[in-house]
């Protein structure tokens, strides 16, 4: 059996030796006790004797190599005997590398015990040690494999008994608490501060109560989101002088039992414009723009549980009076929940009126598949120059929102103007 040849440890403080020269070549016969190679320590030069009789099987290091003590540097044995192709290592690597073999050894470096970082500890123990500036080399391990466990580090973290009790009770991770006591001892106040930190909620509004989302509101919401996210929309505000219309309406209503509302006039005016100008009566199909024939005006009606848009069908073919009656009956039905499917389907354009709430202007959301929604705002008193005279005029905003995929700005603006002109000359609404 092959016998190792070691770099001898020739003194208590000898760490490594230099091979001056081999006295035998690989394959040469050697006798036990015969000089095999010469080595040099920092103190002496000496001969290493063959440990057995046989042939020199291999030399792991060549002349000039610095080798740690008790490292195997070769083998002596029977010719042809197998020997490891790498030397057995003894802690420190040879410093000079005159032969290829030494290079292989250097690549092995990571295998060696790392003296600075070789503490065996669980990740948690390491984390706590870092957080609390504890040197793991000083921590006695109690793990089953001789490793330092979390509990071992925890023992090293100074903490007052009271702080420990509170932390245990409140489930506070002491590794995350910085101590303010002597040598960073964790005190009650530190744990309380940590608890406060964890309990500090973001600023939240106080919830009065919650009400379930009604089915209708859910649908409205979904449609709003869809319209709002899908449609590149633009709102144009156009100011309308309503002074004449108000006077006109007053005159007409004087002898009527069923009074006509401003909204009726607006619906009629819009219908009248649409009779000749259908450019805004469009919808987006899969691959085409759908041009609508029918002037079906959806009227947004606010309900307790949501919003619904009943439709005044063929508004262009209805008289002002008919429109008034239709709107009245539709909104009554909407409020009593008596609308039929047919009553709120098929709109080609919509109107949303917030005038009664004093709204100055707004951006209504397009009622898909319509391309346009007309927002009607409040009538406000304004001083205006009329024929160089300051007059009190009644002005109203029309907030027209449109789907820019279907309608362009000039088309929308021209439409608004036509509606405005008609409203400003109310007689023509009826003509």
């Amino acid at each position: 059996m092959a016998v190792e040849v070691f770099m001898p440890k020739a003194g208590m403080d000898m760490q490594e030796g230099t091979i001056i020269q081999w006295l035998k070549n690989v394959g040469e016969n050697v006798e036990e006790g015969e000089g095999l190679l010469e080595i040099e320590t920092d103190k002496v030069t000496m001969e290493v004797e063959a440990p057995a009789t046989g042939v020199l099987l291999c030399r792991y290091f060549e002349d000039g190599a610095v080798v740690p003590v008790v490292t195997t540097i070769g083998y002596v044995g029977e010719p042809g005997e197998a020997v490891p192709d790498k030397p057995q290592l003894a802690g420190i690597v040879a410093k000079t590398a005159p032969s290829e073999m030494v290079e292989t050894v250097e690549k092995q470096k990571p295998v060696l015990a790392d003296e600075t970082n070789g503490v065996k500890a669980t990740p948690y123990a390491k984390k706590m040690a870092v957080a609390n500036a504890i040197d793991l080399n000083e921590v006695p391990p109690t793990g089953p494999a001789g490793e330092i466990k979390g509990r071992d580090v925890e023992r090293e973290i100074a903490k007052s008994p009271l702080a420990r009790r509170i932390a245990e009770d409140k489930g506070i991770d002491l590794s995350a608490v910085t101590g303010s006591g002597h040598q960073n001892k964790v005190m009650k106040s530190d744990v309380l501060a940590k608890i406060a930190e964890q309990e500090t909620p973001g600023v939240t509004a106080v919830v009065l109560n919650t009400t379930p989302l009604s089915g209708m509101q859910k649908v409205v919401g979904e449609r709003m989101v869809k319209a709002h996210t899908e449609i590149p929309c633009v709102t144009q505000n156009t100011k309308v002088d309503m002074t004449k219309l108000l006077a006109f309406r007053k005159q007409i209503n004087e002898n009527r039992e069923n009074k006509l509302t401003i909204n009726d006039f607006i619906v009629k005016a819009v219908a009248k414009v649409l009779l000749h100008d259908k450019k805004v009566l469009v919808s987006l199909g899969d691959k085409e723009i759908i041009h609508h024939q029918d002037v079906n005006i959806g009227i947004a009606v606010a309900l307790e549980e949501g919003l619904i848009v009943p439709v005044v069908k063929n508004a262009d073919k209805k008289s002002l009076e008919e429109i008034s009656e239709t709107v009245k009956s539709l909104s009554a039905k909407a409020k009593s929940g008596g609308l039929m499917v047919d009553d709120y389907q098929g709109s080609t354009i919509s109107i949303s009126n917030l005038g009664m709430f004093g709204v100055h202007s707004f951006t209504p959301i397009v009622n898909q598949p319509n391309a346009v929604i007309i927002g009607i705002c409040a009538i406000e008193e304004e001083l205006a120059l009329v024929d160089n005279q300051v007059e009190n005029r009644k002005k109203m905003m029309i907030s027209l929102t449109y789907d820019h995929r279907l309608v362009n700005g000039d088309v929308a603006a021209k439409f608004s103007l036509k509606v405005r002109d008609l409203l400003e000359n109310p007689m023509e609404i009826l003509l």
Binding site: T122, P144, R151
Partner: protein
């Protein structure tokens, strides 16, 4: 909430029945599920209620009828397929691996495969190597599938209903030994979302992550361990794909110890995946002992009951492993 006691098998039957009433596109096919009432009696009298058009007995031809179900699903139906033993999934592996989970992706989302494949898995019944396997890890390696392994009647019912309503192919693994176990469920209709783990027991010292039949075993072990002062948290994954990683990480950060227990064999098992997820997360820094897994030995399930018992995880092994971790 009024509750009733029900067996695992009947909970599954109830889920199927309710969904078939709710949606006429739902139907079931499989071997001996009609007049024979199912190899494990799950389908029971469903054929009498819904007729042979909706409870369809098939020939012994997994490749054929699973393919058929995929076709029906693509065409808008919601098939439930029963494969008698999960081991036989390998007979129609092409359908399960190459067809069902791939179509949605390969057809650019224009097609979906709302199919549920129910099958009996696991051992402990003396049914030997070809009728006792737990092949969930193989399924979890196939993106496009969802994999569910419920442990209680309640989870089984709630998750099966969600599975039937899901627009993707779902593999629903029912462990044979669970079929006769009982549990409480609501009288009212309920569903349980796919992909949410359930903490079956809260604890602060050690987390056991498990699913299916092993859940009860882990809970029993936790009871014993409590007497020895070890407070174990048991997480029932319920859904393996997609996995509720967050629940695992959160728990392990709390307990600093994690053990995964499953009946499937150890090598290549899902435990490896779970452990990898823990190691690859914030939880790593909180670990105070090596991560452990407890699974069946890497051998075909023996026919001999004594040997079969020997290779399966059991309560004693769980207790011993936890104690070793907490040492």
């Amino acid at each position: 909430m009024p509750k009733k006691e029900i067996t695992y098998a009947n909970a599954i039957k109830e889920a199927i029945s309710e969904e078939m009433i709710r949606d006429e596109e739902v139907f079931m096919m499989g071997e001996d599920i009609g007049i024979y009432r199912g190899a494990f009696g799950v389908s029971g009298d469903l054929v009498e209620t819904f007729g042979e058009d909706r409870i369809i007995d098939t020939p012994i031809s997994e490749l054929g009828f699973v393919g058929c179900a995929i076709g029906a699903a693509v065409a808008g139906m919601r098939p439930i397929v029963e494969i008698m033993f999960s081991d036989f999934m390998t007979v129609c592996w092409d359908m399960i691996v190459n067809q069902a989970p791939k179509m949605r992706y390969m057809f650019g989302g224009k097609v979906s495969v709302p199919m549920v494949l129910r099958t009996a898995s696991g051992g402990g019944t003396g049914a030997a190597a070809q009728h006792s396997q737990s092949l969930e890890a193989m399924l979890c390696h196939v993106p496009g599938l969802k994999v569910i392994v419920p442990s209680t009647p309640r989870d089984a019912k709630g998750l099966l209903k969600s599975a039937i309503r899901d627009n993707n192919p779902v593999i629903f693994l029912e462990q044979k030994l669970l079929y006769r176990t009982k549990g409480m469920i609501e009288e009212e209709e309920f569903t349980i979302p796919i992909g949410e783990a359930d903490i079956k027991r809260e604890g602060k010292d050690c987390t056991i992550i498990t699913y299916g039949r092993m859940v009860q075993m882990c809970l029993a072990a936790a009871e014993s361990l409590e007497k020895e002062g070890i407070d174990v948290e048991v997480i029932d994954l319920r859904t393996l794909l997609p996995m509720d990683t967050e629940a695992i990480i959160k728990s392990v950060i709390k307990t600093r110890h994690a053990l995964v227990v499953h009946e499937a064999v150890k090598t290549g098992g899902i435990a490896g995946e779970i452990i990898a997820r823990i190691a690859d997360s914030e939880a790593f820094y909180y670990l105070d002992a090596p991560l452990k897994r407890l699974a069946s030995e890497d051998v075909p399930v023996p026919f001999c009951p004594v040997l079969e018992k020997g290779i399966l995880p059991d309560e004693a092994k769980i207790i011993a492993t936890v104690k070793e971790m907490m040492a």
